[in-house]
């Protein structure tokens, strides 16, 4: 598919990288010639230098044959305008990055309609939602939902004192009464799709599928669930901090934002009446102690400086804060931070890249998008996809144990219409209208039938 990415900042570059590895024909567009030169050196893409809201530049990038146009510059208005122009010049789908809270209320749907946007992307909001999930389950690395929260997937790193270490999966499953599935294990650099005889070790990163209710019980019985989060401290008053506070406020959590800039503080306090805004430097030892670092349940570092986020988070971990999450934009730093023992790391880029990858695959399929959701997890080595089952699919009507499924593929769950999700057993039969959650490693799925050999 022909995809144009306008605006090649952090988000744009992450999207380019993801879409190129998906095999799409990508054209990058940016005002700076240096950025374009650099990108065309690294990726197999075409570069166009110019203003993305200018029709001549768009024409040079062959907008007429473009399937998806993504505007990801730093300015919302430019993104909207260029999407509008791109759409009227023949782009089939347009995606605009719109992140200002002012646009992200009721006016968004009106705007999307008027501008004929296929999707409005708000990386900060997406990140805030992810952060919220992470804070809720403090021991998880990553929490994702399928089918409107009917099924949950979490990623957990096993510590040496965990009850699961040294046990075979068949035994674990026999012991616990909840319905769950350990779908994948990442040990070192190798990804395993485990069977009943697989023995878990300390340090393994495992992913668990279960319905939300069962997940809570399971985590409780495994001693992985700590007390509910009541007090959250956020360093840095960014847009993400704003969205996160707003979500947390609806669940009755006490939120405290520490921000350096007085003007930003004042603006935040206007729009977030239930949140405590502190004007102070989040990297100051005294400020943190004064605001009660040792008595909070969760600490989230969201400043624009990766290094500051890493350091303050490590500091917070020293005080045994149950949940610590740092936003890190630079991937290299993420690896270093994880080596230093920082558990929760999150980045805006990967969230956005995941969403666009899913969107591109859905558009490619174009049969009304079979893929409902797509998550990359296990360090990007595996994908979890949710498919809607069509009546003409080849998997319909055969018990799962009789299907010839390729290596590296696991059917994790089936959601029957109107029912709650269930973990798959070999006797289940997939029917049209169901939603199926599939875990795939080493294979790129764009249709449910792709899972068959």
């Amino acid at each position: 598919m022909n995809i144009i990415i306008a605006g090649c900042g952090k988000i744009g570059t992450a999207v380019i990288s993801a879409l190129v590895s998906e095999g799409h024909n990508v054209t990058a567009m940016d005002k700076s010639l240096g950025v374009i030169d650099e990108l065309t050196n690294i990726y197999d893409i075409m570069g166009v230098c110019g203003n993305c809201a200018d029709c001549e530049t768009l024409e040079e990038a062959m907008i007429g044959s473009c399937d998806i146009f993504v505007a990801a510059t730093g300015t919302d208005e430019v993104n909207m305008l260029s999407c509008y122009i791109a759409r009227s010049m023949g782009a089939k789908h347009t995606v605009a990055r719109i992140r200002d809270p002012e646009y992200n209320d009721r006016s968004l749907s009106f705007m999307s309609q008027t501008l004929e946007l296929s999707m409005a992307l708000n990386p900060e909001l997406l990140l805030a939602q992810d952060l919220h999930n992470l804070i809720k389950i403090p021991s998880a690395f990553k929490v994702e939902y399928f089918s409107k929260r009917n099924l949950e997937m979490i990623e957990v790193r096993l510590k040496s004192d965990s009850d699961l270490v040294g046990k075979k999966l068949s035994r674990i499953r026999g012991k616990e009464k909840e319905e769950f599935l350990i779908g994948a294990v990442l040990r070192g650099d190798n990804l395993y799709i485990p069977d009943g005889n697989f023995e878990l070790q300390a340090g393994d990163l495992i992913c668990i599928f279960a319905s939300p209710a069962d997940m809570q019980k399971l985590l409780k019985s495994l001693n992985m669930l700590k007390k509910a989060v009541k007090d959250v401290m956020i360093i840095g008053g960014s847009k993400t901090a704003f969205y996160l506070s707003k979500i947390l406020a609806t669940t009755g959590t006490n939120v405290k934002i520490v921000e350096k800039d007085r003007a930003v503080c004042e603006k935040l306090s206007e729009s977030l009446p239930h949140t405590t805004i502190i004007h102070g430097d989040g990297s100051h030892h005294d400020t943190l102690m004064e605001e009660g670092l040792n008595s909070i349940d969760a600490f989230v570092a969201l400043t624009g400086i990766d290094e500051e986020n890493i350091l303050t988070s490590l500091f917070a971990e020293e005080f045994n804060v149950p949940r610590v999450v740092a936003k890190i934009n630079n991937n290299e730093l993420t690896k270093m931070a994880e080596k230093l023992g920082l558990g929760g790391v999150i980045s805006t880029k990967s969230v956005t890249a995941d969403i666009l990858t899913r969107y591109a695959r859905a558009v490619e399929n174009s049969m009304g998008s079979n893929i409902e959701t797509l998550y990359k997890f296990m360090d990007g080595k595996a994908e979890a996809l949710e498919f809607r089952v069509n009546a003409d699919s080849e998997v319909v009507g055969t018990p799962i144990k009789d299907l010839k499924i390729s290596r590296g593929i696991l059917i994790a769950g089936i959601i029957k219409p109107g029912n709650k999700a269930s973990i798959v057993t070999g006797n289940d039969i997939i029917e049209a209208g169901d939603k199926v959650i599939v875990l795939a490693s080493g294979k790129r799925l764009s249709d449910l039938d792709d899972i068959l050999r």
């Binding site: 022909n2 024909n25 990508v26 054209t27 010639l33 065309t40 050196n41 690294i42 990726y43 197999d44 893409i45 075409m46 230098c49 062959m62």
Partner: protein, 480 residues
């Protein structure tokens, strides 16, 4: 440096050469010639060497950087020439290996300088291979590999940039593989059209194919010792027009295909190219008209020669060495101008000349208005300062190398005109020069040392100096 990836790519190129040798083998088979054996043995050697190289260097890490790109291209071209010389040497039709190497380098670099004194005595299979090297070298071997072999590396852009001539190398479409394919499709289609037009003009099929290869790669190897002189005016005009067409930037053909006519007609390089051809033809026609029986003959001869030299092809319809000094000087100047960037032609390239002229104009303006700021634009786009300075430094290294080769060549016992034109003809990938290396004579008289030196000059010219320079500099190979 990723040595394994470099060797692997070179090995792949040699394997491809083995496959390409099957075409001249088929030709030798059709004409039932003895050269078939020599060609097949060479193909087997290429295949064995290619497999050996790719097996020892199976790369784990496929990432390459600009440096690997340059070195791969340089080594691949040297290896292809070394192996490509085998058929001539093994068959015994060119007894000296250095002569065979010179002839092959001259083929791949689309120069067309020859050491053969009696072309018509060669077997058809080898003549086919000799011209086919022009065709392969014209668009580039690695571009061909990119078009046919999926995902050699993720960063093939470095290879493309090192192999395709011109100051600015861009892609036509996002994927490099598709870009390479489009380029080759245009190339093949134009070659086929020329073959058909030549056959319509009653040229024998074999000669039509060989001459089309020579024209397409802007090479200049023929099958007759008097080059194109013996053919009818129609055939000469067909070759003139196609030489002119193959000297145009191939990106423009793609723009025509996708119906962006406006951008084609706005291309300043195209108009400068046509302008130089038209004015040089007019000047030479006026200068030589008196010595020809009719105006049309003089016009045809001068048009053919101007186009042949500026596109760096090197075909001849007349012994231009006997023309007046003024006409010869124009031709010598055109040797340095060269064809458009992104074409199959060699030389300094018109794009660079335009950029240089604009730089000079800007410098003059700066002398008058020291505070003036002016951006340089080329083909409607502002040029980055790094492109401008790279063009200037290319000029310096180009001039410097030209004189270095010339000084070394003057150990030979030829007059200055011969030596200057020989270096100019090889360095700019043209073919024949003046004096003792004129269109009716050959490079056979030079010593083996001079032949190797001129081979190097041809490679430097075709690859635009830097790749070879980087590959040969010791600091590239020592670990820091």
């Amino acid at each position: 440096m990723n040595r394994r990836m470099v060797l692997y790519t070179v090995g792949t190129a040699v394997k491809i050469e083995a496959a390409l040798l099957l075409l001249p083998a088929a030709c030798a088979l059709i004409y039932k010639e003895n050269s078939l054996k020599a060609i097949l043995i060479s193909a087997a050697i290429c295949l064995a060497a290619g497999f050996a190289l790719t097996l020892v260097s199976r790369p784990g890490n496929k990432v390459i950087y600009a440096r690997e790109g340059f070195i791969t291209v340089a080594l691949a071209w040297i290896a292809l020439s070394a192996f490509g010389a085998l058929p001539f040497y093994i068959s015994g039709e060119i007894p000296s290996y250095i002569d065979a190497f010179f002839e092959t380098v001259s083929g791949f670099t689309t120069t067309g300088s020859s050491i053969l004194t009696d072309i018509e005595a060669m077997s058809k299979g080898l003549l086919f291979w000799r011209s086919f090297t022009h065709w392969i070298g014209g668009m580039g071997v690695l571009v061909f590999i990119m078009a046919v072999i999926p995902s050699l590396s993720d960063r093939n852009m470095h290879l493309l940039r090192a192999e395709v001539p011109g100051p600015i190398v861009g892609k036509l479409v996002p994927r490099i593989r598709h870009t390479a394919r489009i380029l080759y499709i245009i190339y093949v289609v134009m070659t086929v059209i020329e073959i058909i037009l030549l056959i319509i003009g009653r040229m024998p099929v074999f000669e039509a194919v060989v001459h089309a290869f020579g024209t397409a790669g802007t090479g200049g190897f023929g099958v007759k010792s008097d080059s194109i002189a013996g053919y009818s005016p129609y055939l000469q005009w067909v070759i003139t027009v196609f030489m002119l067409l193959f000297g145009i930037n191939f990106n423009l053909y793609y723009l025509l295909l996708i119906r962006r006519f406006k951008s084609v007609f706005k291309s300043s390089e195209l108009w400068v190219y046509f302008g130089i051809v038209a004015s040089s033809t007019a000047a030479i026609t006026a200068n030589i008209a008196a010595s020809y029986e009719s105006f049309s003959t003089a016009f045809r001869a001068s048009a053919f020669q101007v186009v042949s030299i500026i596109t760096t092809t090197g075909y001849a319809t007349t012994d231009f060495d006997r023309w007046p000094v003024f006409s010869k000087m124009i031709l010598l100047t055109l040797m340095f101008v060269g064809a458009c960037a992104g074409s199959t032609g060699g030389g300094f390239k018109i794009a660079r000349i335009i950029i240089l002229a604009k730089t000079v104009k800007r410098e003059l303006k700066k002398l008058l208005h020291p505070r003036s700021v002016s951006a340089l634009k080329f083909e409607g786009k502002a040029l980055s300062e790094s492109t401008v300075s790279s063009v200037s430094s290319y000029l310096s290294i180009y001039v410097f190398l030209f004189f270095a080769v010339l000084v070394l060549l003057c150990f030979e016992s030829f007059d200055l005109e011969t030596n200057i034109s020989a270096v100019a003809a090889c360095f700019n990938n043209i073919g024949p020069g003046f004096g003792a290396v004129g269109p009716t004579l050959s490079f056979a008289e030079y010593s083996p040392f001079a032949k190797l030196l001129l081979s190097l000059a041809m490679l430097l010219g075709r690859l635009e100096i830097y790749p070879l320079f980087i590959a040969l500099s010791p600091s590239t190979w020592t670990k820091k």
